[in-house]
């Protein structure tokens, strides 16, 4: 099976890491099905974009139905879509909690579920979820975000157990701060204090994330599952 017969779903492809990952995977010959809440500027014969909320079950089912109908083998899903919000626990509105858990947790769960259903047919697949070093650091000011990413990492471990028998691996890439829109509103000194807590004290780069994604995507890498990989070291 070559890349020309294989597809991957990447969520959150309108900007940031998701956009870069989509562009890289298209260059490498993958068929990419991407999604975000808004439109995408990506134009490519092997790219199909869906404007959707990843927590909308019907919309997600529709996207994965399109993958199924394309006749391509779904080999991987990169559950990159995520949102963040800084606030003290005493002043965090319920609506913020709902929003973060909808996108970060329920979106990841829905896309993982629908992807795994398609992967079952082929007896192989890679589910790559996105956690965060915020979990390892129990970051103050990021309680809800941290809790949502902890949920993603726990979910990934159970998912790995339930899907292992079927040849499907599930892992979490948990980046340290990478300079994207996600952290654009966070003061520099706060980000620097976070970077200083890492084992390797620098911002992450797209290529750091890509290297881990590549390692997990490798067709020969059938034995790495249920792992949470913290970039920069916890």
């Amino acid at each position: 099976m070559s890349k020309s017969d294989q597809a991957m779903v990447i969520t959150g492809t309108s900007r940031g890491l998701g956009l870069q990952l989509a562009e890289t995977m298209l260059e490498r010959g993958w068929w990419v099905f991407g999604c975000s809440r808004g439109p995408s500027d990506t134009k490519h014969e092997r790219y199909q974009h869906f404007e959707l909320d990843v927590a909308d079950e019907k919309a997600v089912a529709h996207m994965f139905a399109a993958v199924r109908k394309s006749g391509k083998q779904l080999f991987a899903v990169l559950n990159n879509a995520g949102t963040a919000s800084m606030n003290h626990v005493l002043t965090t509105p319920l609506s913020t909690m709902h929003k973060l858990f909808s996108v970060n947790v329920f979106g990841t769960m829905l896309c993982s579920r629908e992807a795994a259903k398609l992967m079952l047919k082929h007896g192989e697949g890679r589910i790559i979820n996105f956690g965060s070093v915020a979990v390892a650091y129990a970051l103050e000011g990021e309680a809800v975000y941290t809790a949502s990413k902890a949920a993603v990492e726990s979910y990934t471990k159970v998912l790995a157990r339930e899907m292992g028998y079927h040849g499907i691996t599930a892992n979490s890439v948990s980046p340290n701060p990478v300079k994207t829109d996600l952290i654009a509103g966070v003061p520099d000194d706060k980000m620097q204090r976070l970077v200083d807590r890492q084992s390797i004290k620098r911002y992450g780069e797209y290529e750091d994330v890509l290297r881990v994604v590549d390692f997990l995507l490798d067709e020969k890498n059938t034995f790495t599952t249920g792992q949470v990989i913290y970039l920069g070291g916890p």
Binding site: E57, K58, A61, H62, A65, R68, K117, L120, K121
Partner: protein, 101 residues
């Protein structure tokens, strides 16, 4: 063949497929229970049958059904209790989705 009969045939094929994959000889009658002490499949088997059945339905009728939804989980009598019940439930979802036989 009517829609219900078509759907029942698909479901039986899914149970048969799981029977062959798992190496177990499973009862596949219309009133065969799928859950409970007399179930023909174990819990993992039920998951595999539901997943495979959902894919077969969506392929055949061009739908985007999700069988394990809130409606299924909140029904007084589980739609997964037997082949008959699951068939009736699937037909009702297909009718709601406007899928023709």
């Amino acid at each position: 063949m009517g829609k219900r009969e078509e759907v029942m045939t698909l479901l039986k094929e899914c149970v048969q497929e799981y029977s062959e994959q798992s190496g177990q000889e499973l009862a596949i009658q219309e009133d065969t229970p799928l859950i409970g002490p007399e179930a023909t499949v174990d819990s993992l088997g039920l998951v595999m049958v539901i997943t495979s059945f959902e894919a077969q339905l969506n392929d055949k009728y061009g739908t985007e059904l999700v069988l394990a939804n809130e409606k299924a989980m909140s029904m007084r009598n589980s739609p997964f209790r037997s082949l008959n019940a699951l068939t009736d439930y699937a037909v009702s979802l297909l009718d709601e989705a406007g899928a023709a036989a």
